[in-house]
């Protein structure tokens, strides 16, 4: 059962529409949609005989006139239509200027002049109106009295239609007589009673009274045949005598109204009144029991609400952990590319277009748009918190990585530096060797052969150059070196000498 204020969502369009409305809707499709909205609120829903011929021409109950409802307490001025000065029926808001009116009122005013009644801004009926959801929900919560005669049912406005259309015994329904097009209270609308709109002479005063209004006539106007109550000396319409004795007569013997709680007092009503006023000792118990019963009702209602809330909470909790999980996975897979992780969260930020968000609100999971928005805010906040954590994590990861990488680099640089130093030492050593060998050559008296120069510069060893260039003299002068020379000629890698002729190159 959809709330009565949103009939366009669940209830088929109005069964019938007055000719004027039909004419307009034929001319303008969008007016017809507004009119249908109004229609379905005012026409009511066909509950009973759907296939019945009469139901096609007439709604099954007299439509509720939302502008004539009486409210339990005074309604806030902000919920009043500035045109009819009653709480909005189906509120619609103008898009350019944000003024709200009942759709009926605005439609009427718009037919006269296509401008906003408040600031006279020109308004286009196709484009410039939208439903006023928030106001709608506020109106739904107003406590309103049932409009049926003789019914004192009070309920939130959104539930009124259900009571009125399905349960209320006083709801005017079409007269069971097909030839009669008047309305009659549901409890009187039985085929055996027939049409109660026919006039009949009162059996006491012979005045012509409509059958349906007979009871009222007896109560209010009939002066025809009153009799004195034998017990209490009061004038009572004959017709009412029975009920007078049962319900009102002070002389009838009745039991105390707390009898079901243990009071056994039975006395004429006037004594009972006094007794109850005194008050009856069982009153306290009775009240207590009654209160308890009420409390129990409230508790069970609250419990039901709590369980739904808990369910909702669990759902959102699950959602949240799922989202966290997803995010974590994303975060870990996208560590190298933070840009990839961010767009994944963006759809959640888009409140209005998120189909899930819209659905959860429309399904009535939330009591009001404010609650819904608050919940959304909370959700966003937790998301933000998660994001912040993720960013922190990423940040840590990054700096770790950076540190690791730079540390390695630093090490490498240090290594390279030391290598450079070593090479530098080698070079100095080599230069020394070269200088020394040149000095030797000069001392021997020969000129440095180009081969010798080459050999020394080619990075071999001082020993080679000595062996090849100054071959004979060297051999003669130094036997062990000769041995080395032979070694070199057989292409063995240069050996480090420790004969003290040159500085030993530093060990790498």
């Amino acid at each position: 059962m959809p709330p009565p204020n949103t009939p366009e969502e669940g209830v088929p369009a109005a069964v019938s529409s007055p000719p004027a409305r039909a004419r307009r809707s034929a001319r303008n499709a969008s007016i017809s949609s507004v009119a249908a909205t109004i229609g379905s609120e005012t026409q009511g829903i066909c509950v009973g005989s759907v296939g019945d011929l009469s139901s096609r021409t007439r709604p099954c109950v007299l439509p509720i006139n939302y502008q004539e409802l009486r409210y339990e307490s005074e309604v806030d001025k902000s919920l009043e239509c500035p045109i009819c000065r009653t709480p909005f029926s189906v509120p619609i808001t103008t898009k350019p200027c944000g003024h709200t009116f009942c759709s009926v009122c605005l439609l009427r005013a718009h037919q006269m002049r296509p401008v906003c009644p408040i600031d006279r801004r020109p308004l286009d009926i196709d484009r410039d109106f939208c439903k006023a959801r928030v106001i709608h929900d506020q109106l739904d919560r107003l406590r309103v009295k049932c409009p049926s005669q003789g019914c004192d049912y009070v309920c939130p406005r959104e539930l009124l239609a259900v009571h009125y259309e399905r349960y209320c015994e006083g709801t005017p329904v079409p007269c069971p007589d097909n030839s009669c097009d008047l309305w009659i209270a549901r409890h009187d609308a039985t085929p055996d009673k027939g049409c109660l709109h026919k006039y009949t002479p009162c059996q006491y005063c012979s005045k012509q009274v409509m059958k349906a209004a007979l009871e009222e006539h007896y109560d209010r106007e009939c002066s025809g045949n009153t009799v004195k109550c034998a017990e209490c000396d009061v004038d009572v319409v004959q017709h009412r005598m029975e009920s007078h004795v049962v319900n009102d007569c002070p002389s009838t013997v009745v039991s105390c109204k707390w009898s079901s709680y243990g009071c056994g007092k039975k006395a004429p009503r006037r004594d009972i009144w006094a007794h109850e006023k005194k008050p009856c000792v069982y009153q306290a118990i009775g009240r207590l029991v009654k209160d308890r019963e009420e409390d129990r009702l409230i508790i069970s209602e609250l419990r039901a609400r709590l369980s739904t809330v808990e369910g909702r909470l669990r759902m959102s909790e699950k959602e949240k952990t799922e989202r966290k999980e997803r995010k974590r996975r994303q975060a870990s897979s996208n560590v190298d590319n933070t840009e990839n992780t961010i767009p994944a969260f963006v759809p959640d930020l888009n409140l209005s277009n998120s189909p899930r968000a819209a659905a959860s609100y429309n399904n009535g999971t939330w009591d009001s748009p404010e609650d819904y928005m608050l919940a959304q805010f909370e959700r966003m906040e937790t998301q933000m918190e998660d994001l912040r954590k993720n960013i922190h994590e990423l940040d840590g990861l990054h700096s770790m990585r950076l540190l690791n990488d730079t540390m390695r680099l630093n090490e490498q640089i240090a290594e390279l530096g030391s290598k450079v130093g070593v090479i530098g030492m080698h070079t100095t050593w080599l230069m020394n060797v070269q200088r020394q060998s040149r000095g030797q050559q000069r001392a021997v008296g020969g000129v440095g052969s180009p081969l010798g120069a080459f050999a020394s510069s080619s990075g071999g060893s001082g020993a080679t150059s000595g062996a090849t260039a100054g071959g004979v003299s060297d051999t003669l002068r130094n036997a062990p070196d000769n041995e080395g020379g032979r070694y070199y000629s057989s292409n063995m890698p240069p050996r480090r000498n420790s004969d003290g002729r040159g500085e030993n190159p530093p060990r790498l």
Partner: protein, 157 residues
């Protein structure tokens, strides 16, 4: 009762409830026991010498389309209730005010707001004169006020 008339009656009923809780200074409801015609007295509160110390009687006539359509509002002449002198008020009580015309009316207006508009229209006036062609108009006019096609020469009064 036509559905429109019911709408008007309902709205007027609402206005009556509100009026019973009090009206702004200088406005008094004299008669409002039906939903077709109301009488109100208005006074100008400041010391404008043209209107000081005077009380004027207004007659509101409501159609079945009220408040979608404007009410018909005229000043009524009585021994102790003169017609205020104003360049937009004819000596027969007909008022030439944009607010009360088909174009200037808005359904969010009500009896109280109309009275207040008239009060301020008088308060702001300094010209001791009738509209041009007043005599001729008063002699010749047989139309109802709302059917007269006024030319609203000056909207700031």
């Amino acid at each position: 009762m036509a559905p429109g008339a019911q709408f008007a009656a309902k709205r007027l009923g609402k206005e009556l409830t509100k009026i019973s809780k009090g009206l702004p200074a200088g406005i008094v409801l004299v008669q409002g026991d039906n939903f077709e015609e109301w009488l109100l007295d208005i006074q100008v509160l400041d010391s404008n010498p043209l209107y000081m110390g005077q009380t004027y009687r207004l007659k509101f006539k409501f159609g079945s389309s009220y408040p979608i359509e404007p009410p018909e509002v005229v000043f009524v002449k009585l021994p102790d209730r003169p017609i205020p002198i104003h360049p937009h008020i004819y000596s027969n009580g007909i008022i030439c005010l944009d607010l009360l015309g088909q174009q200037g009316w808005s359904p969010v207006q009500n009896v109280e707001s109309v009275c207040m508009s008239l009060q301020s229209m008088l308060t702001g006036n300094t010209k001791n004169e009738r509209p041009p062609g007043d005599e001729e108009f008063v002699r010749g006019n047989r139309l109802r006020p709302k059917d007269i096609d006024f030319y609203y020469h000056d909207n700031n009064v």
